[in-house]
């Protein structure tokens, strides 16, 4: 039961799909290869529309050789920012975000205190590097911590799209907003399943 007027399903993509070596592997050995492979597959799937927030697309351009990216990419992977001045988010979201951050900030301080106590006993640079790692994990992992992350989840919300990212923070907050998401390791299989259907 298909009709021409049936709305296409939408997919919002993160850069990580093409940049993160663990995920990119399915598509290619370099970001440029991965994008071209994605493009080849995506063009064969009329049932899906692909989107990427403009801020994230700009990030992607830092990783690829622009000359090797065919112009067709821009027709297949649409750049669009969420309507951040029209959109709203539920107020409870704000509560959860603030509470989460508050816990993390306290944790960050405890990590710093521990580092100061260790400082006399170990090599300074080592202590600092260990602290940086722990601090960043405590304050950043599993949280939306950049405007690019916010773009990603708001765009998926606005378009009622499927979100494909490896960012655990974005996934966690996408779930709070009722956004569908896909394990990025299954993304290529997901795409191929549409081509098999068409045939």
């Amino acid at each position: 039961m298909k009709s021409a007027s049936q709305r296409k399903d939408r997919v919002v993509l993160d850069t990580s799909l093409f940049v993160n070596p663990e995920v990119r592997g399915d598509f290619g050995n370099t970001p440029t290869e991965a994008i071209n492979e994605f493009l080849d597959i995506a063009r064969q799937i009329p049932a899906l529309e692909f989107y990427m927030p403009s801020s994230i697309f700009r990030e992607l351009l830092n990783f690829v050789n622009e000359k090797e990216i065919p112009g067709a990419l821009l027709a297949v992977l649409r750049q669009k920012s969420p309507g951040k001045h029209e959109m709203t988010c539920p107020a409870f979201f704000l509560y959860e975000l603030i509470e989460d951050i508050r816990d993390r900030v306290n944790k960050g301080l405890r990590i710093a205190e521990k580092a100061v106590r260790t400082a006399g006993k170990s090599e300074e640079q080592e202590v600092i590097q260990g602290m940086r790692k722990n601090y960043r994990e405590a304050l950043r992992d599993g949280i939306i911590d950049s405007k690019e992350d916010v773009d990603l989840i708001l765009l998926a919300k606005e378009l009622d799209a499927l979100l494909v990212t490896v960012d655990l923070g974005a996934i966690k907050w996408a779930e709070k907003l009722g956004i569908r998401w896909l394990l990025p390791s299954k993304f290529k299989e997901y795409l191929l399943s549409f081509i098999e259907k068409e045939e």
Copy 2:
């Protein structure tokens, strides 16, 4: 031109008005005294309705002698939480919050690194205390950092009320949401101006 059906203006109060000694001074020497003085004045102002988020009212109860608080307080100072499951906030608010937090988190790490580098040269406990102070200032001042803060600004928004608080974080974010606010040091004068008008 007054009519019985004219909506009363609403005021949302923070605990700090009664607890913070610098602001409370106008009303009394102890939180309990300050509340009773406020109550005496507020009862004479039929034109205003006073509200306090329930979470903040609970905080207030930690500072006062409950037996000395007259039951009339509950009639004058209404406890109400914002409708956090119905309310929404503009999406740009989320962007500004995330960007602000990101900057602060980076600043927190630099403060911690500096402390580790100083650790060998000064007394450990002093270094830790200095770091705690700087860290808290960097990560908490001027930001909404608790669910009580969120309650305060969302309730003011929901009721289209005047917000009275000393919390700079709440004031800053209230401004972003178009909420009116009043310098807490002028709160008593503000109240008295209504009584003079009545007379």
